[in-house]
Amino acid sequence: MKKTYLIATALAALLLSGTAQAHRQWLLPSATTLSGKDSWVTVDAAVSNDLFYFEHFPMRTDGISVTQPDGSEGRLENASTGKYRSTFDVHLTQPGTYRIASASTGVMGSYTLNGKQERLPRGTTKANLAAAVPAGATNIQTTEASNRNEIFVTLGAPTTSIFKPVGAGIELVPITHPNDLVSGEAATFQFLLDGKPAAGLKVTVIPGGIRYRDALGQIDLTTDKEGKLAVTWPQPGMYWLNASVGGGREGGPGDPGAQGSQAAGGNGPLQRRASYITTLEVLAP
């Protein structure tokens, strides 16, 4: 019993560390603080192990959108996808803070029909889920996942007009503006899950430049009951911030332990998963 437990724990740890270390998705802007009336940023978009080195897989650009300081939609220019990374430009023509984001919410899952397991088609959402599952299907397993990967860049003085929450998945609300970060100073952010404060959310912050050091330098944080956390940046540079709930890993609303497991043969409740990624630039004082 004890031996089995140990093996199981080791295996779980292996799986967890494997998932946690591999395949970090990121957007890396050429600059986050810009001056002048008119400026450009170039963004690298990739999925990799080390931060921020494009060495594994490019991130697709077709799901990336730009929100301008006045709330209107901007556009990606000169987008191209290579073997290891995608790259695109954003022309900044308004003063204030821009959001460049890849955000999606969809339902994934499977069901059994006539003894065969089928997967839900791409593009399934909570709204069309009923239509996507044929009559007579059994063992319906569904998870609604919201993924958000976003960065912020500011021309001139930082503004907060684009931070109005949409109420889906994990979102960042600035207490400290994400384009006003300086090493040695504490920054406070609030996180929301589906529009409500995400209390007890586990958030990981990792400084870039992993390739040239031995220690990962990971900072593990947990939000308070208002969904807030404070982080003091140990040095200037680019940081990758990641938070996720669900998937049975974090004890979040998608955790089978929290909602009751999906019994084999029965129809499980709609599970919830959400992930959040951002890249933050911390300047020297």
Partner: protein, 176 residues
């Protein structure tokens, strides 16, 4: 260049006028900034920002030396590299800024004079201030020097500081 020279002239002239009428506000501030001569393969004159800080008050930008006369205002692209000034004051300004913008300056001693109640210095209430000088050089380094002082100052007194890389001797003198 012309803009800042104009500022110097005005500052000195007004300072002299005010000395007769209102002694308390007659203290001109004479700032001298030495830009070091550097032996480097590629030299560009630094961008320099000079500003005033007082606890509880917004920073006041007194002078910014940058490539103000480039086509399409392209010189403003690098203003953010004078990063501490950019954060406390620059990012909420628009450029060129009247009485503040000037061309980059050559190595050597560079001077500006400021008069209370006039131009970018504005009114000076009694208290503790810090004059801050920050220089950032294209393909070079960046340095910041702080000179604390009390207002009103003793006439003829002087505050001195020295940079080590991008800035040389800096003095702040108070004259009539």
């Amino acid at each position: 260049m012309q803009i800042t020279h104009g500022l110097v002239m005005t500052g000195v002239a007004l300072g002299a006028t005010f000395a007769l009428a209102a002694p308390a506000s007659a203290q001109t501030m004479n700032v001298s900034v030495t830009i070091p001569r550097l032996t480097v393969a590629e030299y560009h004159r630094p961008y320099v920002a000079i500003w005033l800080e007082k606890e509880g008050a917004a920073a006041r930008t007194l002078s910014v030396w940058y490539d103000y006369d480039m086509r399409n205002g392209e010189g403003t692209k690098w203003l953010r590299d004078v990063r501490q000034w950019w954060r406390v004051s620059g990012r909420s300004m628009s450029f060129p800024a009247d009485g503040v913008s000037g061309a980059t300056r050559a190595p050597g001693e560079q001077k500006i004079a400021l008069t209370p109640g006039k131009g970018p210095l504005g009114a000076m209430s009694p208290g503790t201030y810090t004059l801050v000088v920050e220089a950032a050089r294209e393909v070079g380094g960046r340095e910041l020097v702080r000179l604390p002082f009390a207002w009103p100052p003793k006439p003829g007194s002087m505050v001195k500081a020295k940079g080590s890389t991008e800035l040389g001797a800096i003095t702040l003198g108070f004259g009539k």
